[in-house]
Subunit: 490 residues, 2 copies
Amino acid sequence: MSKGLPTRSENYSEWYNELVKKADLAENSAVRGCMIIKPYGYSIWEKMQRALDDMFKETGHQNAYFPLFIPKSFLSKEASHVEGFAKECAVITHYRLKNDPDGNGVIVDPEAKLEEELIVRPTSETVIWSSFKNWVQSYRNLPLLINQWANVVRWEMRTRIFLRTSEFLWQEGHTAHATKKEAEEETAQMLEIYAKFAEEWMALPVVKGRKTANERFAGADDTLCIEAMMQDGKALQAGTSHFLGQNFAKAFDVKFQDKSGALEYVWGTSWGVSTRLMGALIMAHSDDLGLVLPPKLAPIQIVIVPIFKGDEQLEKIAEKVAPIVKSLKAKGVSVKFDDDDQARPGWKFAEYELKGVPLRVAIGMRDLENNTVEIARRDTLTKETVELDGIEAYLIETLDKIQENIYKKALDFRTENTKEVNSWDEFLVKIEEGGFLMAHWDGTSETEDKIKDLTKATIRCIPLDSEMEEGKCVLTGNPSKQRVVFARSY
Amino acid sequence: MSKGLPTRSENYSEWYNELVKKADLAENSAVRGCMIIKPYGYSIWEKMQRALDDMFKETGHQNAYFPLFIPKSFLSKEASHVEGFAKECAVITHYRLKNDPDGNGVIVDPEAKLEEELIVRPTSETVIWSSFKNWVQSYRNLPLLINQWANVVRWEMRTRIFLRTSEFLWQEGHTAHATKKEAEEETAQMLEIYAKFAEEWMALPVVKGRKTANERFAGADDTLCIEAMMQDGKALQAGTSHFLGQNFAKAFDVKFQDKSGALEYVWGTSWGVSTRLMGALIMAHSDDLGLVLPPKLAPIQIVIVPIFKGDEQLEKIAEKVAPIVKSLKAKGVSVKFDDDDQARPGWKFAEYELKGVPLRVAIGMRDLENNTVEIARRDTLTKETVELDGIEAYLIETLDKIQENIYKKALDFRTENTKEVNSWDEFLVKIEEGGFLMAHWDGTSETEDKIKDLTKATIRCIPLDSEMEEGKCVLTGNPSKQRVVFARSY
């Protein structure tokens, strides 16, 4: 009953593309590199947003909204930032169209040229720090703890839905602090929040680490990240938290008067996750039958499918089901009773498997007689017949178990595919097998670049919690004190 | 203790601008016509969003997300739509910057010119209907009930925060239906939802009506609207719901197979409200001391201000207040205990008045002895001393009363400032007094235009619920069957 998906082993990449399409998550638009997030996909994103937003607010952050457009000159104010972001971006040069005198629709009005071109934000540090300058006078205005939910645009040449699109949705946190220590603590705190969200909501185990200088955010002194492993063994960067030092404070002249009356530059952070998380969620858990969604993010957590012939049978089942649906909804469970009489149960089963609904409950006439239902778990594809009495509690308990099991499965997969590598020959063999390679590195950008050129593997991160260990760089043999994570990545 | 606001009678326009700024709602940005919505303002917008979103979902709508960019050619597909929207818009012509060879930052890379220019969406009918074409095959795919929360851009020459900005935030609903009747019912239903939201959440009475052909949405067969009266007597259009007929279905070739197997064009609607509602909220209720917020949309509903000298007194008050705060929060009330010892109570009182906090509770040492608190209402500026026992219930009840009172006050104001006008001389006099003029109109665009030229008043709407009445057009004397609402407007 698979819905014509390629299998993961046949063609992982095609499997992903087809799954995104067939499960009604998103599709490509007529505009190059921009996606349309369809209602089913968007409802997962909304659940992610809500959970993250709650965590941000619990830690004292407030939402705000800054302009979509950035004056071209703003980008140049922070030297390394402009290198990173000015290159591939959407540039607005005119503010008016007019009727084509030749009658071919509308053309750009050459008289409506902007004095200074505007860039569609690729990220908002520049526009936000130019505001922070007005918002901060004294230590009493600090910290500023701001978050924004927004769309951003980075002109990508090779795009892939959710993973790399020219326009994407994200949140970007931007904070300003009186001390270096506080800003560093904020950077670390937000990484913890991202890790907690990935693990507890997305059921996605992540490695928390630090980016190397090569991979750092353009304008940051330090970039922390969470890295997840997809089912093809590739790494996916799922969130980043940047310690900006005083770089943007200096670029935008953001100073404050401290308690002693002295003027000091503030310290900054920024941090973000995006609709890329949707790609991670899909690729980490789903199977050849379709999506596998962790219950906490599933738009429909339980579907109830009646097995019936004719209205009379349906009515009897509906009567039995109604109080269960009501009681589940009252407990905050998202449940759907699919009484559509135009589709067969088998078709529905396959459809809800494709959509990743965690629990399917089937109920027919024999079940009514026996006071039972059949419960099918999406994660394990197992079925069992269960007594109707106390079914609500049992279903809720099972949702929790599914959440745990999906996490455990992903963690086991990562553990199996994380290997210590101690020689270059071994590195070359293992990198082809996929997964994370834990290897020593001599700490230089040259070596990192060379390894990337030779193998397409990059240093995903220097793990925050790995032990110090004397060793030799896997490529150069130079001394190293810690293993880092190498992998090919999305 | 007013925070240096101009009064409404002195200069209504300046009062509004200063209030927006001083109450920390929003500010102008470095980008012409684009605003920054600050945390306090954004938290009101979030409450609006949540309430509206819940209503949309209750009526079966789903959120989705469509691209920010629209190919220029899309705009031209619906003839009247392009006339309305192609003119003042942000045009993207290039997709890359490069370093200026002269060393002056970055310049547009002339080699990165787009083949077809992209428009930043002024509204999304075109891009959404081009998707609907792929989403609709048979009657079983209908209705499509889609909503999007997004930013849009209309290049405005004269901007005003919240009321008219080049970039604004909004929701835009887009639906497709099998029958004309269904689409008309949807158009009416969404207008009802907007009216309900305005009246029950914003405490803003609105007139529900139909736009004249002149004021109709570009591409619609019929535009319904809600119109509110501001304190200066001007009208503000607070939301619109459009019946699109088959215009966009034909422009984008969206057909479906009906039950008989015949191919038919679908019927469409679109409807939206924007951050303009923030402007309406401010201008409808606030006074010379600052914001007056209806409790349902107030980020802080109750503030508790301790009156104390020294830590010991503060501790005693805090101890008394803690269980009240806890109990209020558990009941879903947003309450803040302001124990900042760096600001005096009088300063705080003025600050919370400025910010429109509906209820202020002051508690000092004498209150502790007497087991009382002092409660001040923001809407009436009245104070009373109340027993601490049962205070939570009393506060919650008072919040409800404030919500009702603010609505009633706005309704009374509108009633007082709505006048029947029966002659042109009378019209000329009354229009200068402000408010809504209920007058007969001969139904022609010529007369409407002429009245606008002579008086700057437009027909805000033809009320949906007004009685039929034989009369003569206030300007031409030609016959008319119904009074319409004339007003000057934002």
